[in-house]
Assembly symmetry: C2
């Protein structure tokens, strides 16, 4: 049923500070697609891309030139800068992957085409209103089980596909420190919809989404250089996206595909980046759990701006950082709309989604 | 961490209308436990149990004798009668299994000890308030991922463990009719908590629960002989249990273990039993999704009686059947309390759970 889309429907976004040797391993799967490389850190450094790949590369100077003063919403010295790539893409689908992620193998020893599985996930509906115990009912060999209401079997459009990681699991610094040797070796052969009303920790390492449906909510926040927090870029985007998907009647799936995450980042450095987030998330998550978007917020942009206002009002009390972040959220939407003026098609898609 | 409990902590409840030859296959796993066999249908028929099993057997005459007029709440000519076994048990844990379920094999070809996995599930906490993308964080080789709030990592007590089925999936009659050849061959190596606020279709074929925590809510309703509905006994129990677990802060897990479901029941017969349920569930599920239990309902019994009142008021409008069912729910609790007078320990457990 689901097929890999043609080259002109998907961009691969890669944030990096180094030469992209890791692409060699992905060549059979990525070569036909266009890459958007967002160079993090020193713009004078040259990033080498293996021959044969079709790509555009943006460094900090490019971002400043394209966005002008609005470039302030794009993080510097943090992989959160990747979201600039989502903004400049003109494709329907985005797949983003970290440069320390390699091709994983399934239990039969076969290379996993992560991109193909993400697209399958995005092209099949989600089922956020009721749990199906045999997991994704749209997968071959599965269906809705006895007791699943028939009125809910059409499902809703899938906006986000969250993939997982074999080898190095995506642990926070305290868990990394406590379990330095833990490796994820369990291949769980499933995809499932995260139910409505439930938040999840979205990791940006191996992630795909439908830009038309949810793109403007995929903002990775203010992290890294000059900010009091790091490693919460994808979490922030995940909380915002989940609340907006729930509001607009869109789905988020998690599970397959796996990538092979090769190297744990330094837990001491991570702890320094994370400690504010670890503390703040205890208040941020209840905030997102209780947030209610108004009926007037019928597009992702409107939802996002309404959310920014509430971030300012309610999270601003925790730390002035959230006031700055709320401003950056609004700037992000302004920049998004400038680079992506609404078309008839995108308006139609949003309307359909909000029904 | 989790170990299989001693013989005196668990009963296996089996509803049946035939000789229990299927137990031969389960002998290595079940022989050390006590069986409660609830004989469905004609009480004059003799059910043969293979030698060596320790069991008690109740037929309709026994049920009538033990419960007197309250026996009206126990279904006749339907496997829903199994819940009588939950009531007469005196153990902490119940495992219930259908007599057409055999030992399944894991992908390595090894026999699956379903009971052992259920107990593992029940002894490990659940995490209903936030989704963990690596599934059960308490399993060996897994943990909470980055971004999972630390305040939620203690989890909550697990009340129910819902296992799955290889070979014949648990489909409703329409799906059986449309996909007569579909078999479930996918072994998904995971256990996960059903998030708070999300309902699921609980199947009674391969199910375990903590009687002390949730027993009085495991009522399988009025089905079969003289009733306008069948095959919704476990669904009904699942909806009620989920709402009460959410209210009391208890968890429900689904996934492993698998059993091998040998034979599809007749889809034409099933359709006749199900058609009212298929129709009614479109209103029942929104009812359970919006139900709110009061703060005063601090025990499973109080929750259940409050729920019965709402069933009467709100679902009674759909069909007089629900008025009768609401009465039966109250009768069930009366019968439960008569057979299970509260002890200091059970009061303590309920209080701890409701905190």
């Amino acid at each position: 049923m689901a097929t890999v889309p043609l080259k002109d429907e998907l961009d691969i976004v890669i944030p990096t500070i180094r030469n992209l040797d890791f692409l060699e391993m992905w060549r059979p799967f990525f070569e036909q697609y266009h890459l958007i490389i967002v160079q993090d850190g020193d713009p004078s450094k040259t990033i080498k891309v293996p021959d044969g790949f079709d790509y555009e590369l943006y460094n900090r100077n490019d971002i400043n030139k394209i966005l002008g003063p609005r470039a302030s919403c794009i993080s510097f010295k943090d992989s959160a800068c990747r979201c600039f790539g989502y903004m400049v893409s003109k494709k329907k689908y985005i797949f983003t992957i970290d440069d320390d992620c390699f091709v994983a193998k399934d239990p039969s020893g076969k290379d996993i085409n992560a991109l193909e599985q993400h697209i399958k996930n995005l092209l099949c509906p989600s089922t956020p209103y009721f749990f199906n115990t045999l997991y994704d009912p749209f997968r071959d060999g599965a269906d809705f089980v006895r007791g699943y209401p028939f009125s809910l079997r059409e499902g809703v459009s899938t906006a986000v596909s969250h993939g997982l990681w074999l080898n190095i699991p995506d642990y926070d610094a305290p868990t990394q420190l406590v379990k330095p040797l833990e490796r994820n070796t369990r291949y769980v052969d499933t995809v499932l919809t995260i139910p409505k009303g439930t938040l999840f920790p979205m990791c940006g390492m191996n992630l795909a989404f439908d830009r038309d449906l949810i793109g403007p909510a995929m903002y990775f926040g203010l992290m890294g250089d000059g900010q009091p927090i790091g490693r919460y870029d994808d979490m922030w985007a995940g909380w915002c996206c989940k609340v907006i998907c729930d509001h607009l009647g869109l789905g988020i799936k998690t599970g397959l595909p796996y990538i092979y995450h090769s190297k744990a980042s330094n837990p001491f450095v991570n702890l320094k980046k994370e400690y504010n987030g670890i503390f703040w998330q205890e208040e941020i998550i209840p905030f997102f759990q209780q947030i209610n978007l108004s009926k007037e917020s019928t597009t992702v942009q409107k939802c996002y701006v309404e959310m920014a206002k509430q971030v300012n009002e309610k999270l601003g009390k925790i730390d002035p950082y959230f006031v700055k972040l709320a401003d950056a959220m609004v700037t992000w939407i302004e920049a998004w709309d400038e680079l992506n003026p609404p078309t008839k098609d995108s308006a139609k898609a949003t309307n359909a989604a909000s029904k």
